[in-house]
């Protein structure tokens, strides 16, 4: 077995200094981070869903639950939030550099998204109140338990989206120079995922509860 022989060569330009590649790597990492987070959240809700299936399968106390109608209105609100955020993305994408006019437009769409998101959370809370008014609490029966757990966990994750949105708004608002496209786009990905996740949860709640 002959061993490979190495010879030293002139060391030229073997080290690059901090440059733009560092930034794109960091941006890439944050994009991966969002997708990885989405993956983990999906897994968590898959676990919740399988818990629901197992719980339903072996039980004698599974009942039926009429979903509060406000849920459908909430769904529309959340989806509308995705649309306004998409409008903001369009504006950002259309401008290589954000001028003050573009900033105003983006701000408008972002604020609309934030308001719609908060409205959704308020609406979900109203749905809880309506259920509670029917005498259905967290521990009343398995169906109500799963309803509160699913909606509650979704809101908890959505709060993360709200925080990210506030952060991005702060970036756009504070000074134009602090705007980071990557942060903006990653927030958008997460926000849209929250919408998709809610549609899935609504489907499960509607068909199983």
């Amino acid at each position: 077995m002959s061993s490979t022989t190495y010879t030293p060569v002139a060391v030229a330009q073997v080290r690059t200094s901090v440059n733009v590649t560092a930034r794109s790597a960091a941006d890439g990492a944050s994009r991966s981070g969002v997708w990885v987070a989405i993956f983990a959240i999906t897994m968590s809700f898959a676990a919740f869903t399988s818990a629901l299936f197992v719980r339903e399968g072996g039980s004698v106390d599974w009942t039926h639950l009429v979903l509060p109608p406000i849920l459908y209105a909430n769904t529309m609100v959340l989806l509308l939030g995705s649309v306004t955020l998409w409008m903001a993305s369009r504006t950002v994408n259309a401008h290589a550099l954000l001028d003050s006019h573009a900033v105003k437009t983006v701000m408008g769409w972002l604020m609309a998204t934030l308001v719609l998101g908060l409205l959704f959370i308020g609406g979900q809370y109203e749905a809880w109140l309506q259920l509670a008014a029917q005498g259905l609490f967290l521990a009343t029966n398995p169906n109500s338990s799963f309803f509160y757990v699913f909606t509650g966990m979704h809101i908890l994750h959505l709060l993360g989206g709200i925080a990210a949105l506030v952060y991005v708004i702060g970036q756009v608002f504070g000074s134009h120079t602090t705007f980071r496209r990557a942060a903006f786009h990653n927030t958008a990905i997460y926000w849209h995922f929250m919408g998709v996740l809610w549609l899935y949860l609504l489907f499960v709640l509607r068909t199983k509860l």
């Binding site: 010879t7 560092a22 990492a29 676990a47 004698v60 967290l138």
Partner: protein, 590 residues
């Protein structure tokens, strides 16, 4: 209008205040050391608990001085009650599995060395990284609190099977607040680990230095990467399970509690829940957790072995593919923990096959390690001793897996000491040997001072012989049918086994005391050890291309460029029989 310029985005200045430097640090190296310190605290406590258990098993009526100060109820006059024994085993298991075997090989070393080995300045999300440590620390403190509440720690084992763990204090002391604290602690731990895993994955995917392709990454980087993928999925399942458990305990829901249970003469106000649901969720996490504990050690051992053998492994690729397939298969085997738990008997056979199959990649790895030793020129350091000890332990613990993977044999051996011996050897001791190997290998890099080699070797021999003396007899006990989680063996059946139990206890006390050598070595060498050179073991990976300890931003203001994989040992380079990854030397001939 200008958007943020790159320089403004990543303004990194060295931290100046003490708090920022050593406490609330964003530096992955400090966080890695913090994890190591936490694991050290947890393993010390966990080991003392195991001493108390072993002591109680063979001298149930002898007082342990001072123990009554910790628990008046559990150890009146220092004599451990059989009930307190259950608390001890629950806390021992929880501490060891979560706060030692997950933290030390994965979170501690991974945090410290993963960014360096791929040539990154830090983790992708330093703030998440800091949060992940502090969440884990909070989890630890919450768990420890259970020792000091009136009811004492939980008694349902580290697996916390429902409904025992879900009913509340009716089921017994420790199952009130103690169990709630346990569930909160594990939920926090999950959250912390998820943040950590997210960081590891993003960092590996995107922050690799120029030239650092996936196949050029050192094996331990691969191991941490695969582990973080497993951890991401595993903890994402355990977290919901813990939340549902907490709701059952505190909000009166019935996810895991069926109807008609009469506990302490009280008909429980629950209905319809499924105890098996908890077991499925728990083991869906629980089995991959075994690989979360062992894979990083496999990576560390491979890494250490190459530097000791002065030659590459027969095939690093095969090791990496084996680890990937173990990671993949680990999702299909959780049911083998439930062969006798009332699952459909057909499922047992279904789970048995992937369980037996998983021994194929494990065997391939073992054979690769063994085969690589052929023709080597081993430098026998404390680190290499522990790496070789790992192989021996992994084999010993691995072969007993053959028995337990078969449902029919499991009928007899389930819940006996055979199982305890199996997982202690393969998951506990083997994994800890990886941690020891890593510690002796990297301590100089991490602190700037070398550990004492002679003390290290003494530590190895005590630990190696000692752990065999402790855990091999566990298998014999299991074969006879000695069941686990029983605190007092008073009947005729156990009488003849008592000499063996005494032997184990004495071995445990001696081996445990031997760890004081290690602690002394850590402490003494930290301050008075021999100063560490930049590359004391003549390694090839990037951590050896920077000073010991590395500066706060790892590589100074330059970014390393990588030209080779990390297996260039046994070659002719300008420095000796190895070529560093960032050396631009070109191979001629070959």
């Amino acid at each position: 209008m200008q958007e943020a310029s790159p320089a403004q985005v990543h303004v990194h200045t060295p931290p100046t205040s003490f708090l920022r430097k050593h406490v609330f640090s964003l530096d992955h190296k400090v966080i890695g050391l913090q994890y190591y310190g936490l694991a050290l605290a947890a393993v010390t406590l966990g080991m003392v608990l195991s001493w108390l258990m072993r002591f109680h098993l063979v001298w149930p009526t002898v007082a342990v001085p001072g123990l009554s100060l910790i628990s008046k109820v559990g150890a009146p006059g220092g004599i451990i009650t059989p009930e307190y024994y259950l608390s001890l085993l629950t806390m021992h298991g929880t501490l060891m599995v979560f706060f030692v075997l997950t933290n030390a090989p994965f979170a501690a070393f991974g945090n410290y060395f993963l960014p360096i080995q791929i040539g990154a300045e830090d983790m992708a999300f330093p703030r998440f990284n800091m949060m992940s440590f502090w969440t884990t620390l909070a989890a630890f403190l919450v768990l420890i609190t259970a020792f000091f509440i009136p009811d004492g720690p939980p008694i349902s084992g580290w697996t916390a099977y429902a409904p025992l763990s879900a009913i509340g204090s009716d089921a017994g002391p420790g199952l009130g607040w103690g169990q709630t604290l346990w569930a909160i602690s594990i939920a926090l731990f999950c959250a912390g680990s998820l943040l950590g895993a997210l960081n590891f994955i993003s960092t590996t995917l995107d922050l690799r230095a120029k030239g650092m392709t996936f196949m050029r990454m050192p094996i331990c980087t691969w191991a941490w990467f695969i582990t973080s993928c497993i951890a991401l999925l595993a903890f994402a399942v355990l977290l919901p399970a813990c939340l549902l458990l907490i709701l059952d305990r505190t909000a009166g829901t019935s996810f895991f509690i069926p109807s008609g249970l009469v506990v302490s003469d009280r008909l429980q106000p629950h209905a319809g829940g499924s105890p098996l649901l908890w077991q499925h969720l728990f083991w869906f996490f629980g089995h991959p957790e075994v690989y979360i504990a062992i894979l990083p050690s496999m990576g560390i051992v491979s890494h250490v072995l190459m530097a000791s053998m002065r030659k590459p492994l027969l095939s690093a690729k095969v090791i990496i593919y084996s680890m990937l397939s173990i990671g993949f298969l680990s999702w299909m085997v959780w049911g083998h923990h439930m062969f006798v738990s009332g699952m459909n008997p057909f499922s047992s056979l279904v789970f048995s096959f992937p369980t037996l199959t998983i021994t194929i990649p494990a065997t391939i790895m073992t054979l690769i390690w063994l085969g690589s030793l052929y023709g080597a020129n081993i430098r026998m350091t404390a680190a290499s001793l522990f790496a070789l000890g790992f192989i021996s332990m992994f084999v010993s613990g691995g072969v007993s897996g053959f028995f337990l993977a078969q449902p029919s044999i499991d009928i007899y051996l389930h819940a006996t000491y055979f199982v305890v011996g199996h997982f202690h050897m393969v998951m506990g001791v083997a994994s800890i040997f990886g941690v020891f190997a890593g510690t002796y290998f990297w301590f100089g890099k991490m602190t700037g001072r070398m550990l004492n080699e002679t003390l290290g070797k003494v530590h190895f021999w005590i630990t190696f012989i000692g752990t065999y003396c402790i855990f091999m007899p566990f298998h014999y006990l299991g074969l006879v049918g000695n069941i686990r989680r029983y605190s007092t063996f008073v009947d005729d059946f156990m009488g003849p086994l008592m000499p063996l139990h005494k032997f184990i206890t004495i071995a445990a006390l001696i081996t445990g005391a031997g760890q004081l050598i290690f602690l002394f070595n850590l402490f003494h060498s930290r301050f008075w050890g021999k100063p560490a050179a930049q590359n004391p073991w003549e390694g090839t990976s990037l951590e050896w291309s920077i000073p010991s300890p590395p500066p706060w931003n790892n590589f100074g203001d330059v970014h390393p460029v990588v030209y080779h994989d990390s297996y260039q040992y046994g070659v002719k380079g300008s420095k000796g029989d190895y070529v560093m990854q960032d050396s631009p030397e070109q191979a001629v001939g070959g």
